[in-house]
């Protein structure tokens, strides 16, 4: 009951509010076109008719939510997933490079963090660069990586995955350095009184202590991996993937298609992030966190 009052009800209200605003803007933004049409045809149009028309345009300035929903239903469920017009197909193209890049990036980030925590030289010389690089718009590099790798005949999944790797590796490295350093002095002293080896301190103390940090940074990393994969699809000349759908939609003014791709991308991001959240909850439970 509390859950309903504190969560379902407010969030539901906000979502309904967003939908209502969306519909309102659909009418406002699409109305000039309808009036224009009516004026051209020398007819007058009733308000009711106007509102109805604004929600059923071919290429609206802003498609109505139900138009987007219909487009998603059509391209996700009605068209076979192997077809190039299926959003499932494009979604999978983006998802696969997201996951590959995210996996590699996470691994790389963890390894780098381990090296930094154990080497004072690396910590002092490399760590400042990693922090600085977080402030750099790395995404700007994406088209170049794609085109350059295409030029040496590396095409398809790998270049996009490399962008995702590059993007996701920074948050993981920074988070894990923080996490591996998170044990208090007292915990480290305790291990010292046991005369524990470096490996033992790592596996029995630093690694488990860093788990919450790992999952927090993995959530950021997977979201940014998806963005990287989408942006990576922009310069390849719109072949496949969510990014390609966005680009093609913007070329041909297919706003419904753009919105459908956007919503699917948003759903993918939400699912990926909450999946990691779920794994985090599971691992935390196993590690005795408060329920």
């Amino acid at each position: 009951m509390n859950f309903v009052r504190n969560s379902v009800l407010p969030v539901g209200t906000v979502l309904i509010g967003i939908l209502a605003v969306w519909y309102a803007f659909t009418v406002i933004l699409n109305a000039p076109f309808e009036r224009d049409q009516a004026a051209r045809a020398n007819t007058t149009i009733s308000t009711g008719q106007l509102i109805e028309n604004t929600m059923a345009q071919e290429r609206p300035v802003l498609p109505a939510p139900h138009q987007v929903a219909a487009e998603i239903r059509k391209t996700v469920f009605d068209i076979s997933p192997t077809s190039k017009r299926s959003l499932v197909y494009h979604g999978w193209v983006t998802l696969s490079s997201t996951l590959l890049g995210f996996g590699l990036g996470t691994l790389l980030g963890i390894l780098l963090a381990i090296a930094i925590v154990h080497s004072r030289t690396l910590d002092k010389s490399l760590m400042p660069w990693i922090i600085t690089s977080q402030t750099v718009p790395i995404l700007a590099i994406a088209p170049m990586i794609i085109v350059v790798l295409n030029a040496v005949n590396i095409t398809g999944l790998l270049p996009k995955a490399m962008i995702s790797t590059y993007l996701s590796f920074f948050p993981v490295a920074v988070g894990m350095v923080k996490g591996l350093r998170s044990p208090e002095i007292m915990y480290l002293d305790l291990m010292r009184t046991y005369n524990a080896s470096k490996a033992q301190v790592f596996w029995k103390l630093r690694w488990p202590a860093s788990m919450p940090y790992l999952f927090t940074s993995m959530k950021i990393a997977v979201a940014i991996s998806l963005v990287g994969a989408i942006v990576g699809e922009l310069p390849t000349g719109a072949v496949a993937g969510i990014g390609a759908r966005l680009l093609a939609g913007s070329y041909y003014g297919q706003t419904v298609q753009i919105w459908a791709a956007l919503i699917v991308a948003a759903l993918m991001a939400a699912v990926l992030v909450s999946l990691i959240g779920l794994i985090a909850t599971f691992v935390n439970r196993r590690m005795g966190a408060r329920a």
Partner: protein
């Protein structure tokens, strides 16, 4: 506390019943941004096997630092120290002592049993033996049945008992305790003091105990080392043997009050020529 059977094979007492800890002319200077700080100055001290020695003094007198030097967690600037006839570093590598911190410092991702198993895992002790030791030591601190709980599910006093069980799990002869009950309320602390005393009588360990509570020091110790600050040094060593069968009632007795009075006087004198700094 229930009667506990000790380990089946009778362990021989520590051979060097004399001089488990021997400190000679020991000094430690910390270099800080505000210049050097004399944390310990000319410390001379010896602790015999089976003794219960307390370090007492105001904050900044170096009592914790001295304990950390014994545990090889700090290195002295000059002087010599031996633990079990070895350097502290060798003693640490031979795992000669168990250390109990101010906080329980239990790893939050391990169960109580897992925490007690930790030092045993680090030392490479096989699983079956680990299991025995966990059961034995949990019983020793009256925590049987809490194996599968996580630290946050226990009260502060129970957590600290678990950390004592962890320090005892690999059966060291020497127990170093750094204000283990300092963060607990007085009622729990009294109770744990009694239990610690029984445990000490039963296991015959040598205990070095840091505290800033006079009643605690008098109640527990066979020897009270009164320390004073700036520079951290030993002001006075007071012998204190109130018999092995002590209960909390003893704190009303004239003997107890007399020793407590001497400790208080010692602390006051040790502090007196420090007033200029206040």
């Amino acid at each position: 506390m229930s009667v506990v059977t000790l380990r089946p094979k009778a362990k021989p007492m520590p051979q060097a019943a004399k001089n488990v800890i021997d400190v000679k002319d020991l000094s430690l200077v910390f270099e800080t941004n505000d210049g050097p700080v004399n944390a310990l100055s000319n410390i001379n001290l010896s602790v015999d096997g089976g003794e219960f020695v307390s370090f007492i003094g105001p904050s900044g007198c170096g009592k914790t630092t001295l304990l950390r030097v014994i545990a090889d967690l700090e290195q002295p600037t000059s002087g010599s120290i031996s633990v079990n006839g070895m350097t502290p570093s060798e003693a640490r590598q031979k795992r000669a002592y168990g250390y109990v911190f101010q906080a329980a410092a239990l790893y939050p991702w391990r169960t109580i049993a897992g925490n007690i198993s930790l030092p045993l895992e680090v030392m490479g002790i096989p699983k079956a033996e680990r299991k025995d030791s966990i059961a034995r030591n949990l019983e020793l601190v009256n925590l049987s049945g809490f194996e599968k709980k996580f630290p946050w599910q226990l009260s502060g006093g129970m957590q600290q008992r678990a950390s004592i069980a962890r320090a005892l799990s690999f059966d060291p002869h020497l127990l170093l305790m750094d204000e283990p009950f300092g963060a607990l309320d007085e009622i729990v602390r009294d109770h744990l003091n009694e239990e610690l005393l029984k445990l000490w009588a039963k296991t015959q360990k040598t205990v070095v105990f840091v505290t800033h509570s006079i009643p605690e020091a008098v109640f527990l110790s066979t020897k009270i080392v009164v320390m004073s600050p700036r520079p951290g040094r030993i002001h006075e060593v007071i012998d204190c043997n109130l018999g092995s069968e002590r209960t909390l009632d003893i704190r009303e007795s004239p003997e107890f009050l007399e020793i407590a009075h001497r400790v208080r006087e010692g602390l006051r004198h040790g502090h007196s020529y420090d007033q200029a700094h206040l």
